[in-house]
């Protein structure tokens, strides 16, 4: 199989977003291929969250286009789709794992219903089957199945994040956006979550775009990395190459600050 035979899942062309006069992100270009994990790193205000929100159609950017290749092989500009189409993508073909579980979960309905919601949205109307699928997914994300009827507010932070992942993956999405999914978790809890994500990515062949300020997370999860500063992508490439042989001053600073903490 030659390299040009498989086509990008997502193709980002000259994406820019301004909040009035204020720059969100500018001239972003990249392709994401099926099964690839891309990390977007940078500090707060670098534009990485703006970019993620544009890609996931939470924000319609000021300029540029993003082409998404659907399951039928057609490639459509996300921003020319109707809002209904965008929202269908978001709850079927895509997932979005938020930093704060309260933004990605319904905290007052049971874990089972949280996982089952997307199925019900797609028209599943068999309680028994929905519940079986939910049980299956709780097991996959290492949540004890006897917690299925408990509300996520009774879960630990790590469990809540794992539940968010189950809730998103239940429709077998092809692309999952993650916004600092390990932020705010203890180190050991983080390690378990990262491990789980790695396993699921390998098993399901997911494409992931993950925003993080934690280079260790980027190194563990991603194939490719984009470093953002002041709204622009200043360096991108193979994750281990960018982290081990950074060329830009800012990337070197980022990497060296990690090293100092580590040693």
């Amino acid at each position: 199989m030659s390299l040009d035979q498989d086509l990008p899942l997502l193709s980002v062309k000259n994406l820019s977003h301004f909040y009035g006069q204020h720059l969100g992100c500018k001239d972003v270009n990249f392709d994401l291929y099926p099964g690839e994990v891309l990390a977007i790193v940078g500090e707060s205000g670098s534009g990485k969250t703006t970019l993620l929100n544009c890609l996931s159609t939470q924000i319609i950017p000021t300029d540029g286009a993003v082409y998404y290749r659907g399951r039928k092989g057609q490639s459509d500009n996300l921003y020319e789709m109707s809002e209904a189409q965008q929202r269908i993508l978001l709850r079927t073909d895509w997932g979005f794992v938020r930093q704060h579980p309260r933004d990605g979960l319904r905290m007052n309905v049971s874990a089972g219903a949280n996982v089952g919601e997307r199925l019900m949205a797609l028209g599943d109307r068999h309680y028994g089957k929905i519940r079986d699928t939910a049980l299956d997914w709780l097991e996959k994300v290492e949540i004890q199945v006897d917690r299925i009827d408990d509300a996520p507010r009774t879960f630990s932070g790590g469990m809540q994040q794992r539940l968010q992942i189950a809730r998103n993956l239940v429709t077998n999405p092809r692309l999952v956006f993650m916004d600092e999914p390990t932020g705010g978790l203890d180190v050991s809890v983080q390690a378990r979550l990262l491990d789980l994500i790695r396993r699921l990515v390998a098993e399901l062949g997911l494409s992931i775009i993950i925003v993080t300020h934690d280079l260790a997370v980027a190194r563990l999860l991603s194939d490719r990395i984009m470093v953002m500063k002041d709204g622009k992508v200043i360096e991108q490439g193979l994750t281990d190459q960018v982290l081990d042989d950074p060329h830009q001053a800012y990337t070197q600073l980022l990497v060296s600050s990690i090293l100092h903490v580590g040693s």
Binding site: R199, R224, G237, Q241, D244, A249, Q252
Partner: protein
């Protein structure tokens, strides 16, 4: 004449240390050599001469400034210096293996599965993969009662040997050996030497760094002195 697997030409590399007022650190200029199928080439020279930098560039871990690193895979030739991240990742899966004692991440997977995973990636059935993994772990003297446990719980030496097992489990045409024998005891060093011999016989091209002169003499078909590629630094 064996097939040429790796061809390095006019390879140039310097580091720019932005955090030290943009200090330029040229390390390599005009490196050029070739490695053929079925031979083990060892990079020689004192430490700091750039052996490790060279090996990392050939794995795509460091970016070269200029020159070519042509990898032959099947009937195709890819220049790693200009290849996209995606092409490099594919080459790492299909053609370029890296044998090191260090693994950046240790998942919660048993040692046996960790090694068998590699065999599976190379198309072996679950059964065969498990068999091959067991044989490899046995050869490297990992006690059988540890096989079912994740290596995170192992001693440093045992972890190193699991990583070596993973490195040799692949069937890459080009193997980069990053001091695989350092700090191994005599018995295990001997095992690694025989693994290298085996691969050589299979037609694998190998390029390695071995600090121990005795080991180097045993495995090396040729030694390339990297000091001739090194940039002469102003005193």
């Amino acid at each position: 004449m064996q097939q040429k697997i790796l061809s390095v030409q006019n390879l140039t590399k310097s580091f720019v240390m932005h955090l030290q007022n943009g200090l330029q650190l040229p390390v390599m200029d005009g490196a050029g050599f070739e490695v053929f199928a079925g031979e083990c080439v060892v990079l020689g020279g004192p430490s700091g001469a750039g052996k490790s930098t060279l090996l990392k560039m050939i794995y795509g871990n460091y970016a070269a400034d200029a020159g070519e690193i042509i990898i032959t895979h099947g009937d195709q030739h890819t220049d790693l210096v200009t290849a996209s991240p995606r092409e490099i990742l594919r080459l790492r899966q299909s053609t370029i293996g890296y044998v090191s004692q260090f693994l950046s991440a240790i998942p919660r997977v048993s040692a046996l599965d960790l090694v068998a995973q590699v065999a599976r990636q190379w198309g072996h059935s679950e059964e065969v993969a498990q068999e091959k993994a067991a044989k490899m772990l046995g050869q490297l003297n990992i006690p059988e009662h540890l096989w079912g446990l994740p290596p995170a719980t192992f001693s440093g030496g045992e972890q190193q040997r699991v990583n070596i097992a993973r490195g040799f489990m692949g069937e890459h045409k080009l193997l980069l050996l990053d001091e695989p024998t350092a700090s191994l005891d005599a018995a295990n060093r001997q095992v690694v030497l025989s693994l290298i011999e085996e691969r050589k016989a299979n037609g694998t091209a190998m390029l390695g760094i071995f600090h121990d002169a005795d080991t180097r003499d045993k495995v090396a078909d040729r030694v390339i002195d990297v000091t001739k590629f090194a940039v002469q630094r102003a005193a």
